[in-house]
Amino acid sequence: MIFKKPLFLLLIVILIAVFLRAYKLGSVPPSLNWDEVSLGYNAYSILHTGKDEYGKLLPLVLQSYDDYKPALYTYLAIPTVALLGLTEIAVRLPSVAFGVIAIALVYFLIIELLGGKNVKILDKEIKSQYIGVLAALLLAISPWHIQFSRIAFESNVGLTINIAVFYLFLKGLKKSVFLPISFFVGALNIHMYQSDRVFTPLFLIALSVIFYKQLLKVKKWFMFSVFLAFLVVLPFIVYTFTNSNALLRAKGVSVFSDQQLVERSSSKLLQDSETHNTVGKIFDNRRIEFGKAVVSGYISHFDLNWLFITGDIERHHAPFMGLLYLFEFPFLFIGIYILLFLKFDWRYKLSFFSYFLLVPVPASITSGVPHAVRALNFEWTFELFIALGVIASLLFILSVKNKIFSLSLKLFSIIYLLLTILNISYYVNQYFFQQNYYSSADWLYGYKQMISYVNSQRPNYDKIIVENQVPFDQSYMFFLFYLKVDPLYYQSLGGTKTGGFKEEHKGFYNLTFRHIRDVKDTGRILVVGKPGDISENLKNRKVFYYLNGDAAIAVAEK
């Protein structure tokens, strides 16, 4: 029967995945956020001039908002921008594609990981293909994965690359030619996403340690792989050493720059020196506070509320939902237990768990934890656990001999299945039909509508002054994007000027970007900013609204 063919099932899974990622793409989430417009416009700029907004030729790192983004996503967006123009869909499409690829890859990775044969769960032989398909299905419908494969987040491509690295490495143990490919792809992640700059190298080192015996046998291939990876990473190393600002972002989000953390310990230290408390002088130490903060950041990713019920900031999850389905809760724990004691090559098992345990490492040294984007690499490991949990539970129910017990378990399963359907429909409703209402402010809704209006009014005014303070920070980029400003023209004005977030932006056309309070310019002036900052008495006042009806942006004549 064709329904028993795993590859056929995988095809169906992929169709589901494509549907869930393509449906309403560009309109849910309702608008592009800062990073998405930046990635998009820079792709547009490089496509037409070979240079980014700063006028830098083929950059490896985008200075962007002085957060120095790895540039690879922008290059991936060049073909889609070339094909579809500068639109929401064009910017988000590479992420969708890699999201779907991840699902196919997970299937093959899991089969490879479990040794390609049958595995024994509760004394029953199960084809590893079925485990792969189930995990792929769970990934295809996963709220966490859908969230990030429908928006232009580098992290999502990074996840797909990490899955590929793992798969190719395991393949490479059998057929050495895959080894250099694995390292090459892994090295690309350095140019993809900040967290993966830490994660992927650590994971490759862990793999190399775990399989050192096998790698010693193919020494030449291994040396070549490392050399190849080094070549790919080299430009980044050179960049970091020659550019003092390259690590600005990393410093900005690191816990070690969090001064609040040490306030209490330093006041205690003061008390210690007053009272000559030697023990206290050792223990009331900011290094201990930092150490605790790192551990705290790490374990925060195992907060069950974060995973199942609340998520973190609004842009990272569907409204009033966590990152995973609540119905998966028990299966996660059963699955972890099953996988821990499942019989397959211990090195493979160790490599899986080292992947799992390394995921929160990059996020743990940052503030703002737990962080669904920085820890996105978790995604497929959870789905594998849950898939095993589901299979083990089903096998258990089928194996029960006692009739009454068996019957009540089956009844319970039917109720559980209904709740599962309820849970999934709830998610679909929250994501596709409630999200725009509840989260449009978080997605900076209103820019597109406002910009098209302002553009139509542009000829009537001498100067248009646009707010550039929170929440209108980086407003210039939205204008560049939605007005499709010719990159050659923009660069001829000098492009974006470096120098911190708050500096006045020179602007283009008759647009200026700065704080709109105390505007002293003369002539016909149009101001754009927070509705609260723009008096209702001004002429031609027009307000743009979020999708829940709250005022978002106001435009008026000064």
Partner: protein, 544 residues
């Protein structure tokens, strides 16, 4: 199998003794001065016990209250008061004797933990039992709750004892069953949480041990009837509006934002039927419940900062030690892998203990889930025990040494923060300043016709009763008492003390005023300042 730890039986006995002594020292040393002062509730326990010790009536004159003492209108379960009568008779009405019962039962909990672990995992697991008892003895969670008059700490002891006696009776000594029932019922007369935890636990135990219980039908029926009779008065009380008042105030189901939200969601779906199903408010409330429940398992709460309320945690150490993380996780895995004895009791009791806390808005809450102790510690102990069994013989000594070092370092970190910095940093949380103020006011009491006292720091009257050893009979005669609609009890005055919310508007010349510094009018002449340990002024005494 267990030989790696200690060789002889005698050494183990000494070790248990040492652990209990350690627990005793950590709970009784400086008990009267750290935490630095008494909270309202502690003071109320003390004064009510004092009053009962004099004429058998509580502060308001209720004779031997059985189901509740009214106190501030929070209807405290009465057991802690009765337990404090004797210590107060012996040691006098002071901080130490108020906290004595909690500390004393805290030490006993450590001892019972040892025997409970033996009942759960079998007599051979005495090493595991010793490790469990040791971890509870040094647990920041348990130490902090044992060092203040928290009735929850005593209730947890009764739950633990009841559990132990139940297992003992299932293991053959069925006459103990009745004592198990008594202990369980007592816990319900001691604290609120066991009123949910114990019934759930008992139902599960009866279900699991149905066959054994049926064999001893006579004992069971007698004990059961006895238990129900003991429980009846409480059951009647729980049906009264007073008892429900406090619950309604703190529970999550009175949060109307959920209803607003689901209504909006249904509106967003154009009132479709399916939307009414998936956005049913009962479902949403259930998820809210789960969220509050899981809050109590938040890793940061457990291992890094502990409860946000400084009375339950010093904020520098979690409810558990940070070093426990790997062992706790290993313990969970080993428990389910080995499935020794009655292993299931450990996770079951832990999970049941959190049920009541999930209904409350304030989560996580170290106090309301305290009956989950020592299950956390047992998990850690299992992790340590089995991980060390796996270590090759030659490396055992060095591993034990390493772990001991880590435990000691982490313990010193906790202890130096708790015994040296804690009282200075958080004395305000413990209503520091009242004692000095009362002693001062009491000494000059006869010089003034009226003494006005602010209520801005909360419930001052009880401190005046407590620290001036005011005679309960006199208090009952003189006090002007108001009872508000929501059950709160308000003392307007007794003797020449007047308590007011609005001290700034009292303009009586020649009276003594005690208020917080920002309430003092500018022309007030300060007679004395009462400072927190960190130097901040808590209260001032002044005249106009």
């Amino acid at each position: 199998m267990s030989g790696w730890f200690l060789k002889t039986e005698e050494m183990k006995k000494y070790l248990l003794l040492i652990i209990v002594i350690l627990a005793f020292l950590l709970r009784f040393l400086f008990l009267g001065s750290n935490p630095p002062s008494l909270t309202w509730d502690e003071t109320a326990w003390g004064y009510n016990a004092y009053a009962i010790g004099i004429d058998g009536k509580d502060e308001f004159g209720k004779f031997l209250p059985l189901t509740y003492i009214e106190s501030f209108g929070d209807f405290k379960p009465p057991v802690y008061m009765y337990l404090s009568v004797l210590p107060i008779k012996i040691f006098g009405l002071n901080e130490f004797s108020v906290r004595f019962a909690s500390a004393f039962f805290g030490v006993l909990s450590v001892l019972v933990t040892y025997y409970l672990v033996l009942e759960i995992f079998g007599k051979k697991q005495d090493n595991l039992a010793l490790i469990s008892a040791f971890i509870l003895a040094i647990s920041p969670w348990h130490i902090m709750l044992s060092r203040a008059a928290f009735e929850a700490n005593v209730a947890s002891f009764f739950v633990l004892l009841g559990m132990y006696l139940f297992l003992k009776s299932v293991n053959g000594k069925s006459y103990l069953f009745i004592f198990s029932v008594i202990s369980f019922v007592l816990s319900m007369y001691t604290f609120n949480s066991p009123r949910i935890v114990v019934p759930v636990l008992v139902v599960i135990l009866c279900f699991v041990y149905f066959k054994i219980l049926v064999k001893n039908l006579k004992t069971i029926i007698i004990a059961g009837i006895f238990g129900i009779l003991l429980f009846l008065p409480l059951l009647f009380f729980l049906q009264t509006p007073q008892a429900k008042l406090r619950f309604n105030e703190v529970n999550i189901f009175s949060d109307i934002s959920v209803i607003k939200r689901t209504n909006q969601e249904i509106k967003n779906d154009n009132n479709a039927l399916f939307s009414k199903i998936i956005h049913n408010r009962r479902l949403t409330y259930s998820v809210e419940y789960v969220r509050h429940y899981l809050d109590n398992l938040n890793p940061k709460f457990l291992f890094i900062t502990g409860d946000g309320n400084p009375k339950f945690s010093i904020q520098d150490v979690g409810q558990l030690y940070i070093w426990e993380i790997p062992f706790f996780i290993a313990g969970i895995i080993f428990l389910f892998r080995k499935r020794e004895g009655r292993f299931w009791i450990v996770p079951t009791l832990l999970l049941i203990s959190i049920i009541p806390a999930g209904f409350a808005r304030e989560t996580p809450h170290a106090l309301r889930i305290e009956s989950s102790l020592p299950m956390f510690q047992i998990f850690t102990a299992i992790g340590i025990y089995y991980l060390f069994l796996m270590i090759p013989k030659k490396k055992k000594a060095i591993s034990v040494g390493m772990l001991s070092l880590i435990i000691i370092v982490n313990f010193i970190y906790f202890a130096q923060n708790y015994f040296i910095h804690y009282s200075r940093e958080f004395s305000g949380e413990w209503q520091y300043g009242y004692k000095e103020a009362v002693i001062y006011a009491d000494s000059v009491k006869n010089d003034y016709r009226n003494i006005y006292v602010t209520e801005s720091l909360g419930r001052p009257y009880i401190y005046f009763l407590f620290y001036s050893h005011f005679l309960p009979q006199a208090f009952r005669n003189e006090a002007k008492i108001e009872r508000e609609v929501f059950g709160f009890v308000h003392i307007d005055s007794f003797s020449n003390y007047k308590f007011t919310n609005d001290i700034a508007h009292v303009r009586e010349v020649g009276a003594l005023y005690i208020s917080s510094p920002n309430e003092k009018p500018e022309n007030g002449k300060i007679l004395k300042e009462f400072k927190l340990i960190n130097g901040k002024i808590a209260l001032v005494a002044y005249t106009l």
